[in-house]
Amino acid sequence: MSALIIFGLLVALMLTGMPISIALGLTVLSFLFTMTDVPIDTVALKLFTGIEKFEIMAIPFFILAGNFLTHGGVARRMINFATSMVGHWHGGLGLAGVIACALFAAVSGSSPATVVAIGSVILPAMVAQGFPRQFGAGVITTSGALGILIPPSIVMVMYAVATSGMQVQGPDGQLVDSASVGELFMAGVVPGLMLAGFLGFTTWYRARKYGYPRLAKANLAQRWTAFREAIWGLLLIVVVIGGIYTGIFTPTEAAAMSAVYAFVVAVFVYKDMKLADVPRVLLSSANMSAMLLYIITNAVLFSFLMTSENIPQTLGNWMVDAGLSWWMFLIIVNLLLLAAGNFMEPSSIVLIMAPILFPVAVRLGIDPVHFGIMIVVNMEVGMCHPPVGLNLYVASGITRMGITELTVAVWPWLLTMLIFLLLVTYVPAISLALPALLGM
C-alpha cells in the first residue's frame, strides 16, 4: 500500500516537469511527515551524509577530467590515430569513429561527452568525404554510448553508490556483498571492447554494402606520427585503468589524478586550452557535478524511505513467491529499464531503481557485478532512442538533423546494441570472466 502511495506521488510530481531531484525530495518529505513517526530532522542529516562518501567523489573528478579532454585536443588526435590505422577499410572514417569513441570512452566517464568530443570533429569530416549524414550520425550516436561501458564510467559509480553497503541474502541464504567501483570498472572492459567490435562490424558491413568511401592507406611513418601525437591521451588510459589495477590508486584517486593529468595535457602539452579558460572549465564541471550530487542526495533519501517502509524486501518476497526465475526477472528488468529510458536520464534511473531491484536480483542468484553491467548496457540503449535520449539530442545538435530523421538513421546500430544487450543479459561470463581472472 505505502509502495503505491510513494510511487504514485513520485510519478505525479515528476510528470509536472519539476527537477527529478525535487520530485524525489518532496515525495520523501510529504510521506515521512504524514505517514510515519521518523523524526523529520533526519532528512537534513541524510542530505549531508548521503554524499559523504569518498567513492562518490570520483564523479566530480571524472567530470572535470572529461571537460579538460573534450576541448583539449585529445579527441582530435585520437581520431587521427584511429583513422591512420583503419581508414582504408570499408567504412573508413566511420570505423575510425567507432575506434576513436572506444579510445575516448577509456578516458571519459560520460556518453554525451564522448559523442560531443568525437562527433563534433569527425561528423563534418565524414560529410566532407561524401558519407551520408545519416550514416555518420548513426555511428557516432551509438558508439558514443561506449562512454559509460568502457571504464571509467559515471553510471557505474552511480550503481556502486546506489547499492553500496547492501548485504543481501542470496538464493542459498548466504550473504552477498554489493559490487565495488573497481570490480565494475574491470567488468566493463570486455563487454565494452565487444560492443565496439559489434558496432564496428555493422559499420563495416553497411559501408561495404553501399560502397561508401575509403581513405588511402596510411604508411608506417604516418601511423607512427599519429600515434606519437595521440600518446598523451592514450597514456591516460594507462593512468586510469592501470593505476586502479596495480593498486597505485583507488578509483576515486585515479579520477583525481586523471583530472590533473588532463589539465596538464590540455594546457601545457597540446596547448589547445589557455590558462585563462581554466576557471570556466572548473565552474562548468562544478555545475554539472553539483547537479548529479544533488540527485544522488535526494535519491539516497528516497532509498532510505523505501528501506524504512520495507519495500525492496516485500517486492523480493512477492517475486520469489510468484515463482519468478532469474531469466524472467531479467527480461522484466530489461523492459522496465528500457521503458524508464524513455523519460529519464541514466543517473536518475540507476539511483532510483538499483536499490530496489538489486536485492531481488541477488535473491534470484544474479551476480551483483553482472547485474550492474547489464543495467549499464540498458542505459546505453536508452540514450540512443527517443523521446529522451541524451546521445540523440547531442548528435542532433552537431548534425542539425531532426530527432525523427536521426531515429531512422541509428536503427541498424540500435538493433546491434539490442542483440548485444541480450548477450550480456544471458551470458554472465562476458562481464564476469575478466574480474574473475584478476581474482576480484
Binding site: 553500496s164 565495488s180 573497481g182 597505485i248 590508486f249
Partner: protein, 310 residues
C-alpha cells in the same frame, strides 16, 4: 494491543551472523521475554537504516533508540576519554579488560556520555587485534614505509606512526579491495573480522600481537530510557546483562575459530612474537599513551590502568 507496545529500534552496521549481530538478536529475544511483551525490539542490521557515520546523530534525534557503535566513535562525539580503549597494550588479557568494562571505571566513562543525551548500557567485545601485511612483521623496522589502514582515530594514527608505518584512513568496507590491489599494504583487525572479510586471502603475513582492543558500547537515547516505566527498565537491564555475556563469549570463540581457520587455509603465515620482540613492540608503542595523555586525561588512563591491574 500491538500499538501499545514500546518499540525499540536497535540499529547496527554489521551482518546478523557476527557476534554483535547475534548479541542484538539475543537481546531482542530476552527483552521481549523479560518485559512480558511490553517491549518490541526491532533490529536493523547492516546499516539498513543509518550508516556508520550517521547513526550517532540518528540516536540523538530519536530516530533510533539503541545502537552498538565502536568505542572509537565517542572521541568525535566530544568524549575523548573513550580513546583510552585504543591505547596499545593497555589490557593484558580479557580478565583485565572486563575488570574495567564491567566495573566502576566502565560506568564512570559511560557517565561522561550523559550530557550528549546518551546512556551507556554495556560494553561488548570484538577482540584483541593482530597485525597483518604482505611482508613479515617482526620488528618495528619491518613497518617502515608500509601503508597501514586504520579507522579514523588519533590514537591509532599515533600507534602506526610509532611503529614507523604510514597510517591510511579508510572505510572498513573498502579494505579488502585496497589490500588486494595494494593501495594499502596491511591493517590491524581482530581475527574474526580479518576472517569474515577474507583478508587472509590478500595478506601473506600476520603477527599475533594482540596489541590493541576493539570493542563496542551498547547505548540508548537517554531521554527515551529515562521515560520508560521502572519495571520495563529492570527487565531490559537483565536482558542486556545476559546478552552481553552471550555476545562476549561468542566473540571470543569466533576469534579463536577464525585464527584456526586462517592458519588451516594456509594463505597467511602467522607469527608469534618472541618475548624480546614483544618487549620491543611494547617499548616502541609506549610513547603513544604519553602523547595522548592530554586528550584522554591522565586521571582516566590512571583509573583504567589501576582497575585492569596492569
Amino acid at each position: 494491543a500491538a500499538q501499545d507496545k514500546i518499540i525499540i529500534k536497535f540499529s547496527h552496521v554489521v551482518a546478523p551472523d557476527t557476534p554483535k549481530g547475534k548479541g542484538a538478536a539475543k537481546f531482542e529475544e530476552l527483552a521481549e521475554k523479560y518485559t512480558n511483551g511490553a517491549v518490541d525490539v526491532e533490529v536493523y542490521p547492516n546499516s539498513q537504516l543509518y550508516k556508520d557515520k550517521e547513526e550517532m546523530e540518528a540516536l540523538q534525534l530519536g530516530a533510533v533508540q539503541m545502537l552498538a557503535p565502536s568505542l572509537a566513535k565517542f572521541g568525535p562525539l566530544g568524549v575523548q576519554a573513550f580513546e583510552v580503549f585504543d591505547l596499545p597494550y593497555i589490557f593484558a588479557d580479557y580478565d583485565a579488560l572486563h575488570r574495567v568494562t564491567k566495573g566502576e571505571v566502565g560506568q564512570m566513562l559511560f557517565s561522561k556520555l550523559e550530557d550528549k543525551g546518551i546512556k551507556g548500557l554495556a560494553y561488548w567485545d570484538n577482540g584483541f587485534k593482530i597485525m597483518s601485511a604482505n611482508s613479515p612483521l617482526h620488528t618495528t623496522d619491518d613497518f617502515l614505509g608500509l601503508k597501514m589502514r586504520i579507522q579514523s582515530s588519533k590514537v591509532l594514527e599515533a600507534e602506526m606512526n610509532a611503529l614507523g608505518a604510514v597510517p591510511q584512513v579508510m572505510a572498513f568496507s573498502e579494505v579488502y579491495q585496497a589490500l588486494q590491489t595494494g593501495v594499502v599494504d596491511g591493517t590491524e583487525n581482530p581475527p574474526s573480522n580479518m576472517y569474515t572479510q577474507k583478508m587472509n586471502e590478500v595478506q601473506t603475513h600476520a603477527t599475533v600481537s594482540n596489541h590493541g582492543y576493539l570493542g563496542y558500547a551498547v547505548i540508548v537515547n537517554k531521554q527515551f530510557w529515562d521515560g520508560l516505566p521502572a519495571e520495563v527498565r529492570a527487565g531490559l537491564e537483565q536482558a542486556m546483562a545476559e546478552s552481553t555475556d552471550y555476545a562476549n563469549s561468542i566473540a571470543r570463540e569466533e576469534n579463536e575459530k577464525a585464527l584456526e581457520a586462517m592458519k588451516a587455509a594456509g594463505t597467511t603465515e602467522f607469527y608469534e612474537l618472541t618475548p624480546e620482540e614483544l618487549q620491543a613492540w611494547k617499548d616502541a608503542l609506549a610513547p603513544v599513551a604519553e602523547e595522548m595523555t592530554d586528550r584522554i586525561g591522565a586521571d582516566v588512563i590512571e583509573a583504567v590502568k589501576s582497575a585492569s591491574g596492569s
